[in-house]
Amino acid sequence: MRVTFTVNGRKQEADDVWEGESLLYVLRERMGLPGSKNACEQGECGSCTVRLDGVPVCSCLVAAGQVEGREVVTVEGLADFAKQRAEKSGCASGACGTSLQEAQQWQSKPADSQTGENTDLSPIQQAFIDAGAVQCGFCTPGLLVAADELLERNDSPSDADIREALSGNLCRCTGYEKILDAVRLAAARGENQTAGQGA
């Protein structure tokens, strides 16, 4: 069957999708977006976490046919998604979003450590790098999507809030302390940014 849905702000189409196929499979194997990781295939590990109509879900547990006409944000589109959100610009022009080609070629380009310029990363991605929260990196995309959503809802989360929000994401390297550090760092930077703006 054919499935048409929005991925990272752009309309996409997948053909010859098997009816029992998961959204994760469509993203990885049909659209060439391997950012969402395939590990447990049972919703246990959270490494395939994406936003479905804004809600964080395990893409391995969403049937491809269920996303027809809906909006998905993957880790490849997270930087642009965060940018749009920060600018509160919406997408009237239709020029925003991340194209499939851009997403497929996406590479982590952290900000220059001296100047803080040249950043193509969302604040949470930059914070993960700066806090050393990436070890083998396999769980990172799912954690980024989940952590970004937490900070969207709650800009100054307590440690308990962070643990709860990330409780569906496993890190087999067990680098949880640095991951918590990264979320705290992103939250603190967010507060600094809005300080004095009455936000």
Partner: protein, 296 residues
């Protein structure tokens, strides 16, 4: 495999009537696991995501009508006051990602004895609203819903539309044993609801029998003890001997098995402990409420 995408409830019922083997999929948190692991190859998948009604709830005067696909996250956020037992149980479901997708309809449809919603549903005394194109709506009392391991009272052409829960008229609690806080299939679980209006207590036990069950003897014993001692009026503390007997009877209601998650012996023991503790929590809350009600 065919993927059926009804746009309305009527279309869904028609599809289920035409293809009784169709497997309904809403949150997908059970069905997709089975498909991903090749444990199941249904002929038809019946997607319920496009039926908006299923994700809505209505708070009435006496009841809450909870759509089958209302995600656990929404229950936690919105219905804590009306149906506290289920809201507490919802908190313990898997992880945020799963709670964003899964709902009570899936727990009921799968009818696994380990489903987290069951103890709270049993304790609340709810009814399950099911419907077929041929015979219309049928309200199944929760006590008659679970028939066996992963078997329920649904006919092949029926779909679960909602659960109608009485609004809480007293404190409710839920407790669950597992190896960690998140992503745990219950080793065993216990739900309790005090119903001061009818002077009754209802319970629910998960993962300690072939189906979710109530501890009926424990309920009857406790109701009689509370009544005879005038506890509902006095709000006096429950004597340890009563709590102990309640716990023992709850333990005795179990018919558990040994499996990878825990032994039968452990489950019986743990259910007794949870029964005693949750009784303590709810009763303290009842006493607190009574006192503040008197002060007001």
């Amino acid at each position: 495999m065919d993927f059926l995408r009804p746009a309305s409830w009527e279309e869904a019922l028609a599809a289920k009537a035409e293809h009784p083997t169709a497997v309904p999929i809403a949150g997908g948190t059970d069905v997709m696991v089975e498909i991903n692991f090749d444990h199941r190859r249904p002929e038809y998948l019946l997607d319920l995501n496009r039926i908006g009604d299923l994700s809505e709830w209505e708070v009435g005067e006496k009841t809450v009508r909870l759509g089958a696909s209302v995600p656990y996250t929404k229950i936690m956020e919105n219905l804590r006051r009306e149906i506290p037992g289920l809201a507490l149980a919802s908190h313990t479901v898997a992880s945020p990602q799963i709670r964003n997708r899964g709902g009570v309809g899936g727990n009921l449809g799968c009818a696994s004895p380990a489903g987290d919603a069951h103890p709270a549903l049993l304790a609340s005394g709810c009814e399950v609203e099911v419907e077929s194109a041929a015979r219309g709506v049928r309200m199944i009392p929760i006590d008659e819903f679970y028939l066996g391991v992963k078997r329920n009272a649904l006919e092949p052409d029926e779909l679960i539309r909602s659960v109608v829960l009485p609004k809480a008229d007293g404190p409710q609690q839920f407790s669950k044993v597992g190896t960690r806080n998140a992503m745990v299939i219950a080793v065993c679980a216990f739900g309790i609801a005090l119903h001061p209006e009818t002077r009754t207590v209802r319970t629910g036990i998960g993962s300690a029998a072939p189906t979710p069950i109530r501890a009926k003897e424990a309920e009857e014993f406790l109701a009689a003890a509370l009544d005879e001692g005038g506890f509902w009026e006095s709000g006096a503390p429950i004597p340890p001997s009563v709590a102990k007997q309640f716990a023992q009877l709850a333990s005795g209601a179990c018919n558990p098995i040994d499996d990878v998650r825990g032994s039968a012996k452990y489950r019986r023991h743990a259910v007794g402990i949870m029964a005693r503790r949750t009784l303590g929590w709810t009763w303290e809350s009842y006493r607190g409420n009574e006192r503040s009600a008197q002060c007001a």
